[in-house]
């Protein structure tokens, strides 16, 4: 049962689909419901020991889980585990922007910022393809970003914040260090972000 659950979680995780507890019970644990907690605990232990991954609950109300990477971040391998280096690069830039701007940005501000990097929502990008879809759908589905509508706006505007996976897989400190490195400055240069990152 435990090895079946490990396989199940690995497959779901390959596509960064958050895993619902109901799915685990239905597809894998089935008749062993009573042992659910124990099976999950053992599976988590194996995931950590063998794969360096950890099962983390990101929604305690609806019992939704993701697998996060437990290994210390390698230089230049920040958030990515595999081949989506460019997408993760873009994501890191977006997360940095959001953090430096006080943890929440309007969608219009984000697109304006990305214009500077020659990334346009309306245009197919040579590397990222449909960028609007990548940012507003993919990154959100994978729980790297969270988008909420701003009330009383017409046409409707949205704000972007870090999603639960970003919260778990990286840190404000890592992101601030990235920005500092890019700009050739000391992280303490940005006083308020620095103290926020240290407190995190």
């Amino acid at each position: 049962q435990v090895s079946e659950l490990v396989q199940f979680l690995l497959v779901k995780d390959q596509k960064k689909i958050p895993i619902k507890r109901a799915d685990m019970l239905k597809n894998v644990i089935r008749e062993y419901r009573n042992a659910y907690a124990e099976i999950v605990r053992r599976a988590d232990r194996i995931l950590q020991e063998v794969f360096g991954l950890q099962l983390v609950e990101i929604d305690t109300k609806r019992h939704i889980y993701i697998l996060i990477n437990n290994l210390p971040h390698a230089e230049g391998q920040h958030l990515c585990r595999g081949k989506e280096k460019e997408e993760m690069g873009l994501l890191l830039v977006i997360l940095s922007f959001i953090f430096m701007k006080g943890n929440s940005v309007k969608d219009s501000a984000l697109w304006e910022f990305l214009h500077l990097l020659r990334v346009y929502p309306g245009k197919q990008h040579s590397v990222f393809g449909d960028v609007r879809k990548l940012v507003t759908e993919e990154f959100v589905r994978q729980k790297y970003l969270e988008t909420t509508p701003i009330p009383l706006t017409d046409p409707p505007e949205f704000k972007f914040q870090w999603g639960p996976r970003a919260e778990k897989e990286t840190s404000k400190k890592d992101v601030l260090n990235f920005v500092a490195k890019m700009q050739g400055k000391d992280p303490a240069f940005w006083a308020s972000q620095y103290s926020e990152a240290e407190a995190n």
Binding site: S3, Q7, Q14, V50, G52, L71, P72, G82, K83
Partner: protein, 237 residues
């Protein structure tokens, strides 16, 4: 058992994570990765000991019915590594990525490839299959797209309009193929592993990998079948 006692380090875990997300990793890439992981996680790096490194990982994967397996590409003879699920009784690895009808097309394509003499199925033949699928008929245009995705995902590889199984597919599904195509799938007479593209003796029917044929007949002016001793009628590659 000496290996069982060996602990996994973060270097092993990192290596495994990358191998899993790559799908298939070529030998020299794997060696570079081995070095990178050891350096990143500050673990002692033994230059030539990739196989030992992998054995440690495999000893921990064994209770999960998984394994890092090495296979030789039928195209370039190079070693490749893939993480394989040994408990699979069907093409379940693909099951989560494709629809029912796409899987049926894949299984039928695999039939054509394995039953063929040379391990290739022409795109015409495959597209004709699309018409006869049980689940639902698939239009030719749609089937062409699906084939393209199979190639991108490294289940099939394409050469001159003909399709064969990608090295990744062979490594991951060797057990499945050998058990499900027992009477038809060929084992190379020389190296004993599954042979998809092969040369077959016209008299006694044994098959050999092209690379194994090349090695076996090197320097021989009159190549003869290792089993029945009849003249080997093909050009040695």
């Amino acid at each position: 058992n000496n290996l069982m006692a060996a602990q996994m380090t973060n270097a092993h875990r990192r290596f495994l994570q990358v191998l899993m997300s790559n799908g298939i990793t070529e030998g020299s890439e794997a060696r570079k990765l081995h070095q990178h992981c050891c350096e990143t996680d500050k673990v002692y790096y033994a230059h030539d000991k990739l196989d030992d490194f992998i054995s440690i990982i495999n000893s921990h994967l064994q209770p999960l019915f998984m394994q890092i397996r090495k296979g030789i590409s039928e195209d370039d003879g190079r070693a490749h590594y893939a993480v394989v699920n040994l408990a699979e009784t069907e093409v379940t690895k693909m099951a989560s990525d494709y629809t029912e009808i796409e899987l049926e097309l894949f299984r039928k394509t695999m039939d054509l490839i394995i039953l063929s003499e040379n391990g290739f199925a022409s795109s015409t033949d495959i597209l004709n299959l699309a018409d006869q699928l049980k689940t639902k008929k698939m239009k030719k245009k749609e089937a062409e797209q699906v084939l393209k995705v199979f190639v991108e995902d490294k289940w099939l590889s394409e050469k001159n309009g003909e399709y064969t199984l990608h090295t990744r597919c062979i490594i991951e599904m060797e057990q499945y193929i050998l058990s499900n195509y027992q009477d038809v799938a060929r084992k190379c007479n020389i190296c004993r592993s599954l042979a998809i593209q092969s040369q077959v003796c016209e008299s006694c029917g044994i098959g050999m990998h092209l690379r194994c044929v090349r090695k076996y007949f090197r320097g021989q002016t009159e190549p003869r079948c290792p089993k029945c001793n009849e003249f080997w009628s093909y050009d040695t590659p």
